[in-house]
């Protein structure tokens, strides 16, 4: 990570886990220390995995357009930590975080980025088309908005089969401009589908700020008119996102239909690719600073006893290195693989 980013992540006082833990409980969060550690580990794993992707990228070993979630991890982690293993997520082309947070195989993800046959999609998906059905991560898509209704279909199947599964459907603020989003809200509410809609609102679609795309920012209010309860988490707090997810997952499992979370978060890196882009003029580093300052990876990390944190950090490094190794040492697909899986048997 570049020095200027790292600087902003360092917050003045190191606080004790005790005080923060009390605060946390006071705010109504349901997490014990184990839970906090789990959340931290996941935030950190995503952060480090993507930083590793960014490190590797200039080597051209990853010939796949990468859309990093660095800085945005709290949405995926907050939601997925509230889900059961048999629950399902549907993410976007900016999907590394969702994939990892839901427990997607990290080795298979790195291998996929490398285009290796051991990749989660055998090298035929790439970064924008991650999938891990064994861990209930639906395939992601490079066409904005497309996976929203797909998630609904999975929820419909679960409902018809009385499976009490919940589907968390992630999408960006840009995706909400596609008509399919509203069609989906209406259908999910009409059929009381077990869905948690998760808007990852980072304020940009590529380089275009929201003000050039949204007539107003009254999104939660709008979604409420479908009879869907909503929660706005304006600072992207992973614990607040988790709380809302727990609530909506329970509600969905009871058969009362979908919930909606708007998580305001911030994309630290460029839209696609590994770098920073505050020098490009479309957004200022000033805008970034408060987000860097409240970085949830750091914030949650500071809630943990330092030895626990250090141990988790080591585990994370090991996981990431193992995944990179796995990718590096895996084979590319054979040429005949080109013609496999066009049609299913």
């Amino acid at each position: 990570m570049p020095a200027n980013v790292r600087r902003n992540q360092r917050i003045a006082t190191v606080q004790t886990i005790g005080r923060l833990w009390r605060e946390n409980v006071t705010q109504g969060h349901q997490l014990d220390l184990t839970g906090l550690a789990r959340v931290y580990r996941m935030l950190r794993l995503i952060r480090r995995a993507e930083e590793r992707v960014a490190d590797i990228y200039p080597s051209d070993k990853i010939k796949s357009p990468v859309h990093l979630s660095i800085g945005q991890e709290s949405a995926a982690v907050g939601v997925c930590d509230a889900l059961n293993p048999e629950d399902i997520v549907s993410g976007t082309y900016r999907g590394h975080a969702t994939y990892i947070a839901k427990g997607g195989d990290l080795n298979a993800m790195f291998a996929e980025l490398y285009g290796k046959v051991t990749g989660c999609a055998k090298g035929k998906g790439g970064s924008m088309h991650l999938i891990d059905m064994a861990h209930n991560v639906l395939g992601t898509s490079a066409v904005v908005g497309t996976t929203i209704p797909m998630g609904l279909g999975v929820a419909l199947a679960a409902k018809r089969r009385n499976q009490k599964k919940v589907v968390a459907v992630f999408f960006g603020d840009g995706a909400t401009e596609e008509g399919v989003f509203y069609e989906s809200l209406n259908f999910a509410a009409l059929h009381k589908l077990p869905v948690i809609f998760v808007l990852e609102n980072n304020g940009y679609a590529i380089h275009e700020p929201q003000v050039k795309r949204w007539a107003t920012d009254r999104m939660c209010e709008r979604v409420e008119t479908y009879g869907i309860p909503t929660t706005l988490v304006a600072d992207g707090d992973v614990l607040a996102i988790r709380d809302a997810s727990v609530k909506y997952a329970d509600r969905a499992r009871r058969g009362d239909g979908p919930g909606f979370i708007e998580a305001r978060i911030y994309r630290w890196r460029e839209h696609v690719g590994p770098g920073l882009d505050f020098d490009q003029g479309y957004r200022s580093e000033k805008e970034f600073e408060p987000w860097a300052a409240r970085d949830d990876v750091e914030r949650i990390g500071r809630m943990l006893p330092s030895d626990i944190r250090a141990k988790l950090d080591r585990e994370v490094e090991a996981d990431v290195e193992a995944a990179v190794d796995f990718a590096e040492t895996s084979a590319f697909p054979q040429l005949e693989e080109l013609y496999h899986n066009v049609l299913a048997r």
Binding site: G125, S141, M150, N186, N341
Partner: protein, 361 residues
């Protein structure tokens, strides 16, 4: 009529209408497989998609047979998601034209999921689309457009031309583990054929030779099979013997059967239910040309919609479509290029509409 009526082969099944064959296929599969469900605008109303879904909601209930909001884009995504989760949705559109709202989901997701997710998922779904015709349907309720789906790897496309194939293809489509675009022609709904009561499938990728002949190979698509058969009947009266072939499934496409026939007849006429340019007929013509035109002189000709939008006013509407007269004329022109132009007489052309191909198959 031109049916290969074979007295030795018993005419199995009852005479059933296309529309009823479709409904029977779906009902039978729904009884056998609880993962099959039917949805789409108006599938549960009293008209039941011109009868083809009528009564299904009564037998299977609103969880398995339900209408939707007017949201073709999202509903297609819902079908894909349900299919990925192991259900077998049948998504119904009363006009092919409305599929234009589903193109993103069909082309960018349904067709590609099995491949781009490395085989982790399958998308067993059926998309039913009806081609409208007549009574001034006009430009937006009359399109074929199935060549779009043929173009994209990962989709299957079938267009049965008679009640027997309608039932067998529908059951096959429901059981297929890929997205199948099921093309129906509105004017076929009332045509009937001998249809077995039992459950059976018609395999995809196998064309059916409906009449034998050595003068010209005529490939018809969907309703144009019926028109081609009528034309062939008329042409036989002047001694032209056409081999009429119904590809049934358009993707996969059984080029072998067509090529074998053309290798013999030396002439190929394709009658499409759609525009000619980049249509199914182009594919068939081009494939045959690739296979055969370097080895022998073959004549190839395509017919289809006029290269215009479909006008509703009756005479222009009639001129927009190929019909037994224009098809018959073309057959004659191809087989006897140096003869004076021949046209089936008007009265006989009209009579031809009473003929109908009932199998057996």
């Amino acid at each position: 009529m031109s049916s290969p009526a074979n007295p030795d082969k018993p005419q199995s099944g009852r005479v059933l209408k296309y529309v009823d064959a479709l409904r029977e296929a779906v009902a039978q599969e729904m009884r056998l497989d609880p993962s099959v469900f039917v949805f789409g605008l108006d599938v549960d109303d009293h008209k039941g998609i011109q009868g083809s879904t009528k009564g299904l909601v009564d037998e299977f209930g609103p969880d398995r047979v339900f209408t939707t909001p007017l949201s073709e884009d999202a509903m297609t995504g819902v079908a894909i998601g349900a299919a990925v989760a192991g259900m077998r949705p049948i998504h119904v559109h009363i006009r092919m034209d409305f599929l234009m709202l589903s193109m993103n989901q069909l082309v960018n997701i349904a067709a590609k999921s099995h491949y781009m997710y490395g085989g982790q998922v399958t998308v067993p779904m059926v998309v039913r689309g009806i081609i409208g015709k007549s009574w001034g349907q006009g430009a937006q309720h009359s399109q074929g457009l199935y060549s779009f789906f043929m173009h994209v790897p990962g989709l299957k496309v079938v267009a049965p031309s008679n009640a027997f194939d309608a039932k067998g293809c529908m059951i096959q489509a429901i059981r297929d583990n890929n997205p199948v675009i099921f093309v129906e022609h509105r004017l076929l709904y009332n045509t009937d054929a001998y249809v077995p009561e039992e459950v059976y499938t018609v395999p995809f990728g196998k064309a059916r030779v409906l009449t034998k002949g050595n003068d010209i190979t005529v490939v018809g698509i969907s309703n144009m099979v019926q028109e081609a058969l009528r034309a062939a009947d008329l042409a036989r009266e002047v001694g032209i013997h056409a081999e009429v072939i119904d590809p049934i499934s358009l993707s996969p496409l059984d080029i072998d059967t067509i090529a074998d026939s053309v290798a013999r007849t030396g002439r190929l006429l394709v009658i499409d239910n759609d525009w000619v340019m980049c249509g199914a007929g182009s594919e068939i013509a081009a494939s045959i040309a690739e296979r055969l035109s370097g080895t022998q002189k073959i004549q190839i000709q395509r017919m289809g919609f006029a290269p215009t939008s479909c006008p509703p006013t009756p005479e222009l509407e009639a001129a927009f479509y190929p019909n037994p007269r224009t098809i018959g004329e073309m057959m004659h022109k191809m087989v006897r290029p140096t003869d004076a132009r021949w046209s089936p007489d008007e009265a006989r052309t009209k009579l031809a509409y009473q003929l109908q191909f009932r199998g057996p198959f």
